[in-house]
């Protein structure tokens, strides 16, 4: 099997070919959004970070934006800067252009937003013109980098869509590709399953550490994750404990060995299954997958959710037939109940994998067609000051 994609100078393969208009700080979002609204072939990356944050968070913003600018689906980058932000613009320019991607920059404080807009529009136009000349080529399935996520979960998530996405994940890994999952919060109570799947003790220890750190951060803020999880809605839906919720959630990562654990904003290198330490909320987590280098996100849902990402197609998979019928504008794939049934699961995994190949070769997801998902976010560890 194979798919049609775009070769990048750094060896990665894009399934989309966008000029990313990246806002480097919260105050530059509007200009970035204006440019992306006007110029076909661009996609914005907007967020609330880059200023008045503690140094570890400023570093996290710079690192994440650099990784996001190097996502395989990005052909070139236009940075939209304010001028006085904490984000390290020079490092962004250097790291992104080192991958062979053209990088241009406008700064609002130089002569105002209207001038930055005018300059940015022209730059974006030039970058799109160059990017549009990159030809589609056929690539082997081993070039796939797929992120997985679940959200808006209900009982069908653990019974149908998570097993289906997990089975598709296993196929991607068997084909020599890469799969990435995260949402550390939902490892709680299932760590022992994940550590058993770690390739060695070092990776197992990293898994335990990220869960422990996430719990500590929650407690420092005066909360206990376990107190609010499972939620009242989860309990009403039949989930009894955090263990049960987590076991159902990690099913979406399939069954393959876990090769390594990366930090939020890191770019994943290598083949097989990886973890990115991350929160479960969509805006921040989808950004973590894009930063990690995912071309596509497989998103398992029960209740149905609309989120996409500006230049990473998000495929919604549900096992809830009512949701599929109620939300035709959001859900891409309906799968049957396969939990606990060996052969049915394999077929369902194959169905999801075929959708991945179609989307990789250009089929538009519901979120892409709707242009839903223009307001992602970046994770922060500390306060806004």
């Amino acid at each position: 099997m194979s798919f049609l994609g775009y070769a990048r100078a750094d060896g990665s393969v894009g399934v989309r070919n966008y000029v990313a208009v990246i806002s480097t700080v919260a105050c530059a979002n509007d200009v970035a959004f204006w440019i992306a609204q006007q110029i076909k072939g661009t996609a914005p990356f907007l967020h609330q970070g880059g200023c008045c944050q503690l140094m570890p968070d400023i570093e996290l913003v710079t690192k994440s934006l650099s990784s996001i600018g190097r996502n395989p689906n990005v052909a070139a980058v236009l940075l939209v800067s304010l001028g006085c932000e904490g984000t390290d613009i020079e490092r962004l320019e250097n790291e992104i252009s080192a991958t062979g991607r053209p990088v241009k920059k406008v700064a609002i404080q130089k002569a105002g937003a209207t001038v930055a807009l005018n300059e940015g529009l022209l730059m974006a136009q030039e970058l799109v013109s160059a990017a549009s000349q990159i030809k589609l080529q056929e690539f082997d399935d081993s070039n796939l980098v797929i992120g997985v996520k679940c959200g808006g979960s209900d009982t069908t998530s653990g019974l149908a869509s998570n097993p289906a996405v997990g089975a598709a994940c296993d196929i991607v890994v068997d084909k020599g590709g890469t799969c990435i999952f995260g949402e550390t919060t939902e490892f709680l109570g299932a760590e022992h399953i994940l550590t058993k799947r770690a390739v060695n003790k070092e990776v197992a220890d990293k898994i335990l550490k990220i869960v422990d750190d996430m719990e500590k951060r929650a407690r420092l803020s005066g909360g206990d994750m376990r107190g609010g999880n499972p939620t009242a809605g989860n309990i009403a839906g039949g989930l009894t404990s955090i263990e049960e919720k987590s076991l159902g959630a990690i099913v979406k990562s399939g069954t393959k060995p876990i090769q390594d654990v990366y930090n939020y904003g890191d770019k994943v290198k290598g083949k097989g299954l990886y973890i990115v330490d991350s929160p479960g909320r969509e805006p921040e987590f989808l950004s973590a997958l894009a930063a990690a280098g995912a071309q596509i996100c497989l998103f398992s849902t029960g209740l149905g959710v609309p989120q996409g990402f500006p230049y990473m197609p998000v495929i919604k998979v549900t096992g809830n037939a009512n949701t599929f019928e109620r939300l035709p504008d959001h859900i891409d794939v309906l799968v049957g109940m396969t939990a606990g049934k060996g052969s049915g699961l394999k077929e369902t995994g194959e169905k999801v994998f075929q959708e991945v190949l179609k989307v990789a070769s250009g089929k538009q997801t519901k979120a892409e067609i709707l242009n839903y998902g223009n307001f992602p976010g970046l994770y922060t560890l500390g306060p806004i000051v």
């Binding site: 019974l159 039949g238 049960e244 076991l247």
Partner: protein
């Protein structure tokens, strides 16, 4: 084994499991036939089980693990008989309380 998607009343996710998950709202007193790895097990329900909720397949001692996905999801906080409704009222999480009592009954 058939794969008629939602025709069955309940599903057991792993052969080690001592609970099943209802695939429909099931009435109290109903005899439920469940396919576990090719063998059919019959359990009589002692309570109404809503869709997505669990019931016990066997007798579970107070303090013994409640198993789903082949793994413990908590310990029984009282004696549970085959066919009993299994939820927050008779299962205690090993990873901290849910912070709530009762739940859907």
């Amino acid at each position: 084994m058939k794969h008629m998607e939602t025709r069955e009343d309940a599903v057991v996710l792993h052969e080690k499991d001592n609970v099943a998950t209802a695939l429909a709202d099931l009435e109290s007193g109903k005899n439920v036939n469940i396919d576990i790895g090719g063998k059919t097990v019959t359990v009589t329900l002692s309570a109404k089980i809503p869709f997505g909720h669990k019931f016990s397949l066997v007798h579970i001692e107070n303090g013994a693990p409640v198993i789903k996905y082949g793994e413990a999801i908590g310990n029984a906080s009282e004696e549970i008989n085959a066919g009993d409704y299994v939820h927050v009222h008779n299962v205690a999480s090993m990873r901290g309380s849910t912070g709530r009592e009762g739940g859907a009954e």
